[in-house]
Symmetry: C2
Subunit: 237 residues, 2 copies
Amino acid sequence: MSRCDMVKKARRSQRRPDSLSRDRIIDAAIELLDESGEGGLTFRALSERLSTGPGAIYWHIANKSDLLVAACDAVMTRTVDARIADASPEATIRTLALGMFDAIDAHPWIGSTLIHAAGQQPAVRILERIGQQIRALGVPDDAQWTTVSALLNYILGVAGQNAANAQFARMHDLDRSNFLDALSTAWSELDPDQYPFARSIAGQMRVHDDRADFLAGIDLILGGIRGLRTDRIDQGA
Amino acid sequence: MSRCDMVKKARRSQRRPDSLSRDRIIDAAIELLDESGEGGLTFRALSERLSTGPGAIYWHIANKSDLLVAACDAVMTRTVDARIADASPEATIRTLALGMFDAIDAHPWIGSTLIHAAGQQPAVRILERIGQQIRALGVPDDAQWTTVSALLNYILGVAGQNAANAQFARMHDLDRSNFLDALSTAWSELDPDQYPFARSIAGQMRVHDDRADFLAGIDLILGGIRGLRTDRIDQGA
DNA sequence: ACCTGAACACCGTTCAAGT
DNA sequence: ACCTGAACACCGTTCAAGT
């Protein structure tokens, strides 16, 4: 019924010698995500990088969500499979958590993907590793799920925040220190009556160490786990 | 250059008597999000519900992100402003956290919005309320930021997971118990050598109480905070 | 000042057609 | 079996034009 659109000139004719494959697609997706953030991953951009048409990708990958989860899982596997020296369960959990933090820091898009893929492969990988250490710690069976999911939820929260911060900074062309300055300034301009606490810590924001704070949070939870056996009684005041 | 598209017949002519306003738009957005999830909020759907054109909304709202944050903040305000009976700081934090959980449960889209709006109004509201209680608890100044952000990150992690689960369930037309069954089954079919822990807790998944688990995680962190003064030394084994 | 709605520049996804 | 790329059904956003 309509024949209005002009035919665009064919963009490309050369095919890359190596043929398309699920793995090559996932690698290219990771590159794209690392270079230009979550918004940078597009079937068109991806197919251009792979010298094909958008439709070709669908032969190997179900849809965008599948692609994102697969990319996230590929990074996750590298992170979680890193050999960890024998150490106490608590030390191993710390190492595991720091590995996660570094992966998230290097690939901020992992944060939102990890959260959107709740319960799927990438998250189960960490859950499993943490769970094994929680068992080794001697946490009773009926407290294991609670304990592990507290750690996991905390890690995912940090991951999500990190992804959001990175995206915000990218969108406004800010580096990390400019971003923290902007946030700190915004907080210190809040109404003193309504936001006394936020104002009081606005200064700390500018100088804080994300990685150290992250680990401190893990230690807080580990401390709570340690306390499970000893002070179940005096939860009163 | 092209005049190919047929003019679609005008959809609407009646204007609603009450005029458009930022608040009316935000209320309609919340309705839409509650009814049909994150994917349901569209400028076209929204303008249809408000009996206007998509462009009209932009007179009152900067863009979609602004709209989402405003909608999230509106719900957040109701949640956080609920009067809380005088109680110990720990009890108040628990009540606050449970209020958050219930809000997230009633409006799952809050989860992803809250995370994407890291550092902005909606998150600062909770941060402030938690922070005041942390102060009241007597946590030393230099540990306040760490402590509050641990609690906040944990809450946001749960919020994000909840949003993801709700979206997954909606997409596959599952109710909560069907969703848990599917997850539990998937986990119990994992490779026993690689995923002993995930398999072992698959059963618990089916019957667990989200709300109780959430609170247990809060208590774990509160326990860690309580321990801050007492056992800074023996972190060894 | 506020609203209208066609138009623009994108998306993810499909599918007839090719090899 | 695998790839091509035009086409479809959407998006968020803009903007000349109206009141």
